[in-house]
Amino acid sequence: MKLKNLTFKGGVHPPHFKEYTEKIPLEKAKEPQTVIIPLAQHIGAPCEPIVKVGDRVKIGQKIGEPKAFVSAPIHSSIAGIVKKIVPYTSPIGTQVLSVVIESDGSNEVDENVKPKGDLESLTKEEILNIIKEAGITGLGGAGFPTHVKLSPPPDKKIDTIILNGAECEPYLTSDHRLMLENPEKVVFGLKAIMKAVGVNKGFIGIENNKPDAIEVMQNAVKNEPNIEVATLVTKYPQGDEKRLINAVTGREVPAGGLPMDVGVIVNNVGTAAAIADAIQTGMPLIQRIVTITGSAINEPKNLIVKIGTPFIEVIKQCGGYKGKPGKIIMGGPMMGIAQFTDEVPVIKGTSGILVLNEKEAKISEPKQCIRCGKCVDICPVNLQPLFISQFALKSMYDEAEYYHALDCIECGSCSFICPSKRPLLQSIRVAKRELISRRKKR
């Protein structure tokens, strides 16, 4: 058994906070009474609704049709009546046209939801089509349509698939529990991806703070000569695609390039499990594992939640708030998105709902930069955040560009480590936005 601890250069070691939920088995959330399903839950073009107000829909029925290649269809997660189709606040922070469905309690499943056959007999094209029709998008957080990722242009020769089970964000344990409880689904999904792309080398990368998951997954791939579990050093942002590829294969994705430029495609373990579901049961992506956690949650849990369930419903099933919530975050504390309200719905990219108490949510007053250079030491992309940030704050965007502001992966390690609590990433983001909009104008 090979147990190498692989990693990349740079990075930080935030406290894990995984103890809230890492030992808590997956549990199905209560059936929601009403779901709000946004018609854009992924990077790419939004879908158009193909149901009308008053229609009756079933579980797994398609309700949103993509109108562009980089998009993924949207399905109903419950059976019931379409009440409204209106713009609604999405956890991404924008208003998105959403289908509001009220449950009729029948739990009737759509006729199209049926097993798609053996993996052996399915062709590449069929697998890709199943993934596309099931509306599968990356479940790691970014939410890129998976069938697009698995269809690289013919000139990009892919030789390796990596499943991302690193789960380097503090607090989150949904991937961890998935690997422990459904390892065979993860492996099945990986094999399906490998077949769809025509690759015979697969890795499952897991950080070494999850020894139980490493063991379970190693057992699950015992008889799979082409699949290997890659043990990774526990370090943030180990789960970033390019860091993961660097750690596992030693390859360096060119700046501005994509993993496929070095022959690799990375998918989240949750995405692989969703693919397994889509093939084995025919059920499209209508639910996902969500870690509900944080000091301001009474009973942190890992719940299987129907897409469209409002956060507050899920939080209530975890004993509600402990004290007054200070901040509600979708995702992890390093890259997650702070929410204005707890009425936003769970979407395909909702890996976690993290609620911090008022004290933790407080933003500390930034002090002067003492030039300690820690941000330079830990930047996984070798940037000099202190300089880029200074230029950004003075609106000197050309200088910020000279210091490679656009290569920032927004992992937040610099802001995390800064002893002066300076808004490093926040200001670099401003520079990035400005530079990108300038490029578009040209």
Binding site: A255, Y321, F416
Partner: protein, 315 residues
């Protein structure tokens, strides 16, 4: 629904518990053994000079910030370090007003006039030492032997250089533990190394500057000053340990890039060696660091690390 009192800010939502204060406190902790040693060796004189230097630094900082209507940040402890380091750099025989003038100059001119914490382009304590040395050269080089009575002596490096012909080199053991003449805080090599090790362990400093600095001096002395004994004296006597671990690593006046820090360390080592070997002053460490401080911004500018995934240039 919760009322609209949620904090909505951009990620990351988690910050390390590291603070400026903690870093400064670590430096003070690291300096403590050498501070106690200097009091042990040089008795009340040392205590008096150290207290005066630290107090003056703090008072000056508060006063200037008040005058300039800026927030008063004495409690970040950085002024304490400047005062302590300045005291480390003066002889035990110095009169009371030497640390007072030195600390006031370090804080008022070198630090605050350039914008305060993080903006000083030179190490304040070293710049103040250079000023004191230029103004009162006799006072600043009147070395005394450890003990209650201030008996004049020569430093090991001066003896090595042949400036004090009638004195013999102290045993290496004394040089190592600090039982020799010299500035207050620089005599005990071992305690300074201990402090340096603590700073490395705490992640306050990294290996690049101190190791390349000391390594360069060691190699140059081995080659140009004939042999191992001389090399060992050059490393452990004088201010090299103090300079390498506590002065050259000053955040504001040293480079932030990894390559820049290595060049900085080597540069300090070369200049120190050249001054010690061929210069007229026993001031290798101070001036080398000050000179390298001046080029630090240039080093930063020309040693940007290669960005991950940036296409490697051929040739």
């Amino acid at each position: 629904m919760v009322d609209n009192k949620l904090i909505v800010s951009s990620s990351p939502h988690l910050r390390s518990d590291e603070t400026i204060n903690r870093i400064m406190l670590d430096v003070i902790i690291a300096l403590l053994p050498a501070t106690l040693a200097s009091i042990y060796y040089f008795r009340f004189n040392a205590l008096k000079l150290i207290v005066l230097a630290v107090l003056t630094a703090m008072v000056t900082e508060a006063l200037i910030q008040k005058l300039m209507k800026k927030p008063i940040t004495v409690n970040d402890l950085s002024a304490v370090i400047t005062g302590l380091l300045l005291a480390f750099n003066i002889p035990a025989s110095a009169p009371w007003w030497i640390p007072v003038i030195g600390s006031a100059f370090a804080i008022a001119i070198v630090k605050q006039a350039f914008g305060g914490l993080g903006h000083n382009f030179m190490n304040p304590a070293l710049a103040a030492r250079a000023m004191l040395l230029a103004s009162w050269p006799v006072i600043m080089t009147n070395w005394v032997a450890p003990g209650a009575e201030a008996v004049s002596t020569a430093t090991p490096l001066a003896i090595l250089k042949g400036e004090a012909a009638n004195q013999i080199l102290p045993p290496l053991k004394d040089v190592f533990f600090g039982n020799v003449g010299g500035s207050l805080g620089e005599t005990s090599a071992i305690l300074l190394i201990l402090g340096g090790a603590y700073l490395l362990y705490r992640g306050v400093i990294n290996w690049r500057i101190p190791f390349t600095y000391i390594g360069t001096v060691a190699v140059m002395m081995l080659i140009f000053d004939g042999g191992l004994t001389s090399m060992i004296y050059h490393i452990f006597a004088g201010g090299l340990m103090l300079g390498a671990f506590f002065m050259a690593t000053d955040y504001a006046s040293s480079p932030v890039t990894p390559k820049g820090q290595i060049i900085f360390g080597i540069g300090c080592g070369v200049i120190t060696s050249v001054i010690r070997l061929y210069g007229g002053y026993p001031e290798g460490v101070s001036y080398s660091i000050l000179l390298m401080n001046v080029v630090a911004p240039l080093l930063d500018k020309y040693t940007s690390p290669r960005v991950f995934g940036e296409v490697k240039q051929n040739g």
